[in-house]
Symmetry: C2
Subunit: 333 residues, 2 copies
C-alpha cells in the first residue's frame, strides 16, 4: 500500500475508460434536469451542470458496476441518481452555509435567491427518486433511501455541532459519514447491487466508498486551512469563519492549554473573530501538529479503502480505484 | 349534488371510523420523526407534531385503502409517508415564504432558523422515502416519486409566477395542482394501489384526490382574502403582501380597467404597497365579483371530486368522502 504517483489522475483515467457510459450519464442528467413547466429550474440546473465538477460519484457507480461485470442499462440511471442527490445537497448546503462561491462560480443562492435554491434542490431530489424507481430494484431504493436519511442527519448534526467546542472526533466522524461518505458508499454499493454481485463484493464496495468518502472529506477540511483559493474555488479559512469544528481544530482544542482554550472559545463559541485570528489558529495547529495528524488520519482511511478492494476482482478498474484513494490524500502534502 | 350541512365534520367522522389505524399512523410518525444522532431533529419535529393539524392527507390514504377492502398493514406506512412529505414541504414553504405563523404557532424557521428548516425538511423527505420503500410496491414508489416532482415544480412555478401580472388561470391551476392537488391525488391513489384495487377504482381515486385538492387550495386562497385570523392561524392578506397571484386577483386583473391595472401593477409588480391598499384590492374584487366567481370555481371542483366517486363502491366511506368535498367549500360562504 505504498503511495502511487500516477501520470494521469485516476478519476480521469476512469472517466476515459468509462467514457461512453459517462456520456450517457451526462445526457440523462441534462434531460432530467429540465422542466417544461417551471423555466427557473433549467436556468439554475444549467448553471450547475456547466460548472461541471469531477462527477466523482457517478464515476464510482459506473466503475463498481463494470468491476462486477454488469451489462444492463441501469447503472447509468443510478450514476445520474447519485449526481442528482449530490447536486440537491449542494444547493441546500449553499443556503445553509450562506456560501457565495461553488466550483469557482457564484452559487445559485447568490445568482438567484435562497428560495430558488431550496425548491430546485427539492426538485432534483425528486428527480433522483424517479430515476432510481426506474431501475425496478427495491434493494437499490432501500440503500439510497437510507443514504438520504444519513445525509440529512449528518447535515443537521453539523449545524448543531458548529460553534460547540465539545464536538469530539466521534461526532466529527458521524458528520463526515453523513455529509460525504454515505453517498460515496451508496454510489459504489448500488453499482454492485444492480450487477447482481455476490454479497462479499457488495460489502467490499460499500466499505471502499465509505472509507474513500471519509478520507476525501478529511482532506477537504484540511485544505480549508492550507489549500489555495484558485484550485478549490473556495477561500481558505471558510470553516474557521463559519465556526465549524473540523478535525484539525478538534485535535487542537483537545490539546489546548488554558490560554489556547480561551482563544478557541472566543473565536469559535463566541464568534468574536478579529484580524489575525485565522493566522493565530494556524500557528496553534502547527505547534500541536494537528494538521499533520489530520493528514495521517486521511491516509489511514485511504488505506482502509484500498484494503477493502482486496475482496474484489483484480484488474484495471480495481487498480484505478486504489489509485483514486491515493490521489485523494495526495491533494495535501 | 346539493350542499350537505353535516353535524360533525366529515373528516372528523372519517377519523373516528378509522381511529385505530390513525393511532397507528400517529405512532409511526412519532417513531420515524425521531433521530438518535441529531437532537435538533426531534425538537423541531415535536413542535410540528404537537401543532397537530387535521391530518387530512393520511386520512385520505386510509379511507381509500378501506374503501377498496384492504386488510394488510402498509396503508399505515403510506399514510405516514404522505404526512411526512406534507410536513417537509411546509418546512420548506415557510422558509420560502418567510412565514412567521403556521397552524396558529410560530414557524420552525422563526423558532430555530432557516437552516434547520431546510435540513429537517430534507430529513423528513428521506424518512418518507424509507417508509414507502418498506411497502415493497414499486408502483406506489413511482406514484409518489412523480407526485414529489410535481410538487417541487409547482413550488418553483409559484415563485416565478408571483409578482407577474401575466400569470393566468392556466398557470394558477398548474401551481395549485403542484402545491396541493398532486399530494392529495397521490394520497388517495396509493390507498387504492396498495389494496390491489381495479384500475377503474385507482383512476377514480386519483381523480377524486386531484379535484378535492384543487378545490381545497382555491378555498384556501379565497380565505386569505376573507377568513378570520383565529380560524386559520394565518393573517388575512398574506398572499397580497407576498404579491402572490391567486385566483381572485387573477380574475380581477383580467377584468381591470386602466386605472385598476395601474393599481395592480403598483402593488403586485412593483411591490409598492401602502396603507389602505388591501382594502382597495378587496373593493375592486368585490365590484368585479371575483371572490364570488372564485368560490364558484371551488364548488365546481368539489362537484368534480364527488362525481369521481361514482365509480367507487357505495357505503359509509364513500359518503364521507363526498361530504368532505362539500365541507371544503362550506368553509367559505
Amino acid at each position: 500500500m505504498d503511495q502511487i504517483a500516477p501520470k494521469a489522475k485516476p478519476h480521469e483515467e476512469l472517466a476515459a475508460i468509462l467514457g461512453p457510459e459517462m456520456a450517457e450519464v451526462d445526457g440523462l442528467i441534462r434531460a432530467r434536469m429540465a422542466s417544461d413547466n417551471a423555466p427557473r429550474i433549467p436556468e439554475i440546473t444549467a448553471h450547475l451542470v456547466e460548472a461541471g465538477g469531477k462527477r466523482l460519484r457517478p464515476l464510482l457507480t459506473l466503475a463498481a458496476a463494470r468491476l462486477c461485470g454488469y451489462s444492463g442499462p441501469y447503472h447509468v440511471h443510478l450514476a445520474a441518481t447519485v449526481e442528482f442527490i449530490h447536486t440537491a445537497t449542494l444547493l441546500h448546503d449553499d443556503v445553509v452555509d450562506e456560501s457565495a462561491q461553488r466550483r469557482g462560480r457564484p452559487t445559485a443562492n447568490l445568482m438567484w435567491d435562497n428560495k430558488s435554491s431550496v425548491l430546485v434542490g427539492d426538485y432534483l431530489f425528486s428527480r433522483s427518486f424517479q430515476l432510481m424507481v426506474e431501475t425496478g430494484s427495491l434493494r437499490v431504493l432501500d440503500i439510497l433511501a437510507n443514504a438520504s436519511a444519513t445525509i440529512a442527519e449528518g447535515e443537521v448534526l453539523q449545524l448543531t455541532a458548529a460553534q460547540d467546542l465539545a464536538t469530539d472526533e466521534a461526532i466529527y466522524l458521524q458528520v463526515v459519514r453523513g455529509k460525504t461518505a454515505a453517498l460515496f458508499a451508496a454510489a459504489t454499493e448500488v453499482g454492485g447491487v444492480i450487477a447482481g454481485a455476490d454479497e462479499a463484493w457488495v460489502t467490499a464496495l460499500h466499505a471502499y466508498g465509505d472509507a474513500l468518502g471519509i478520507s476525501f472529506q478529511i482532506v477537504d477540511d484540511l485544505l480549508d486551512y492550507g489549500g489555495s483559493s484558485t484550485s478549490l474555488g473556495k477561500n481558505t479559512g471558510d470553516d474557521f469563519r463559519e465556526r465549524k469544528l473540523t478535525l484539525p481544530v478538534i485535535k487542537a482544542v483537545a490539546l489546548a492549554d488554558t490560554k489556547e482554550r480561551a482563544f478557541w472559545s472566543r473565536v469559535i463559541e463566541d464568534g468574536d473573530q478579529r484580524s489575525g485570528d485565522l493566522e493565530q489558529a494556524m500557528e496553534i495547529m502547527h505547534q500541536h501538529g494537528t494538521l499533520e495528524a489530520t493528514r495521517a488520519e486521511a491516509v489511514l482511511w485511504a488505506n482502509k479503502a484500498k484494503a477493502a478492494l482486496d475482496d474484489l476482482p483484480q484488474g484495471e478498474i480495481r487498480g484505478l480505484l486504489a489509485g483514486l484513494a491515493d490521489y485523494v490524500v495526495s491533494r495535501v502534502k
